[in-house]
Symmetry: C2
Subunit: 352 residues, 2 copies
Amino acid sequence: MSTHQKQRITIIGSGNWGSAIARVCAANARKFSDTFEPEVRMWVYEEQIDGQNLTDIINQKHENVKYLPGIHLGDNVKAIPDVKEAAKDTNILVFVLPHQFVYGVCETLCDVIPKENCRAISLIKGLDYRDENLLIFSEEIEKILGIHCAALSGANIASEVAEEQFGEATIACRESSDGDLFLKLFHTDYFDITVIGDWRGLQVCGALKNVVALGAGISEGLKYGNNTRAAVIRRGLVEMRKFGKSFFGGVHTETFFESCGVADLITSCSGGRNKKVAAAFVQSDKSIEEIEKEMLNGQKLQGTTTSQEVFNFLKARDMLDEFPLLTTVYRIIYEKEPAESIALCLRTHKLD
Amino acid sequence: MSTHQKQRITIIGSGNWGSAIARVCAANARKFSDTFEPEVRMWVYEEQIDGQNLTDIINQKHENVKYLPGIHLGDNVKAIPDVKEAAKDTNILVFVLPHQFVYGVCETLCDVIPKENCRAISLIKGLDYRDENLLIFSEEIEKILGIHCAALSGANIASEVAEEQFGEATIACRESSDGDLFLKLFHTDYFDITVIGDWRGLQVCGALKNVVALGAGISEGLKYGNNTRAAVIRRGLVEMRKFGKSFFGGVHTETFFESCGVADLITSCSGGRNKKVAAAFVQSDKSIEEIEKEMLNGQKLQGTTTSQEVFNFLKARDMLDEFPLLTTVYRIIYEKEPAESIALCLRTHKLD
């Protein structure tokens, strides 16, 4: 990384989390004006709000009225409807968009971004399932764009970060010089960043915690108590680690002690939407898709998709039995396995 | 351990948890009648209930009407008011009593129990603070009685175990033959036991989790959100591990992935009394002792005592700064440090 040139920042995405994170970056771009260009460009998929362009509203009011209402993003956030224009000559690309759009956007950007002195960081949750394989998004971005890509994940509810409530997050990257730069860009007094090297473990956690959260929701829907809930979360953590270590090189136990690991898991199992929908699913006769529609207003659950992908991945390897919790969540949701199996699957020894 | 002789079981203690665990042991003593004597003796500190001895009520109704009402303990649980009689010629001593009584009881038992073919297991929570040192109860029992002592801990709310809701627990012991025996005595289809070797780590977790739970309560009392709560729990887990590894030999990272580690911590930070009292403390002007009295009906919080002991222990070693969460919980409760420090103390880097 060259330190002679100020770093231009582009946020790719402008949803709830994208807007909250743009606000963090905008404050740090101002604070470290020797390192960063003050203007933070944010690609916004154009929408009409009461006859006005969302980008125009954001650039006038400095507020994303649709996805993060009531929060001042900073005067130096510039909304741009054209992704190529937003990313042109940038030095730092922050990917924070739904994972189904990643490949399309990356291919669009391929010819626009500089190959020198440009790096990316992925805030995308989930893994990409292709040909019975699970791919890590930061590595896919690296392949397509030909630049380094780090990843950020943690126990972060977007609105709380936007309100400057204290929280932590983890950044994982290959190069320590990239780590220093991203620390400067994301760390604040209320958003405490730890930099680690295990980008695969971080992203495995970000995907699998949603499946465990479905398990916690199933347990809650059955009115099971604290002991069962704690067992589901713990065994989820253990299976997440086993999954990471079994199928991805370089995954470390320490990663699971970071915010991206145990902390994010606890948050997702306490109040996230995966937990809520799974609890409602258990208490009704409807399919998960129907419950999803009713409760989420057209949005899709990430945990259910990941659950299917993980199941197919394990099945292709004949390893379903080695991940009883992850497997049982899938079977309860998609194969009419009784919900009670969420506890029964955790039994280990038989002493009869 | 001799396998020729059936093992006699004695429960030392008959509170809420002691009664629930006596019930588990009684069922397994029946189930494995080749290994265990069917009668499970339970030492009960004699009390009068409506003019009747509590021991008589238990032996007639097979129910501890005072401490675990509504639960059938098993016909083969025998309540005995004399601790020497309860422990005479026993092979397995299950210690499950408040820690302030441990030494007195052990000294009473010293001459009664056989030195051969007798072993103990401690379900006592907390560590013993003496001369600026923290001692492990299972090791203290070993020293006084001259027999091996294992330990059991986990994410276990007594009433849920008594109702046969699924949960997990961890047993730690030096000898694998003891582990096999205790597994047989405690494991059931709904109470899933894992045996490990790290008895110190297990007991450090059981003590320190209560201090972290106070921290979670402080955060809740301040109306802080999920991100802060997750950060407090995570940093608590990290400090528990650091504490264990720094001051006690043989403490392993794996222990913190067991039920006695992360699972028990999550349960204590979600609904335990330490959390509740700390939340109320933050929202009032009263001292912690006053709140304790109002909320707990004369019972004492374990977390506050442990917090004082841990603070004094660290202070004597000039290591307060290395455990910011544990230290800050103490200072908020006893030194009028502003409650907001519970989040501020977690900040790491300063980038100014």
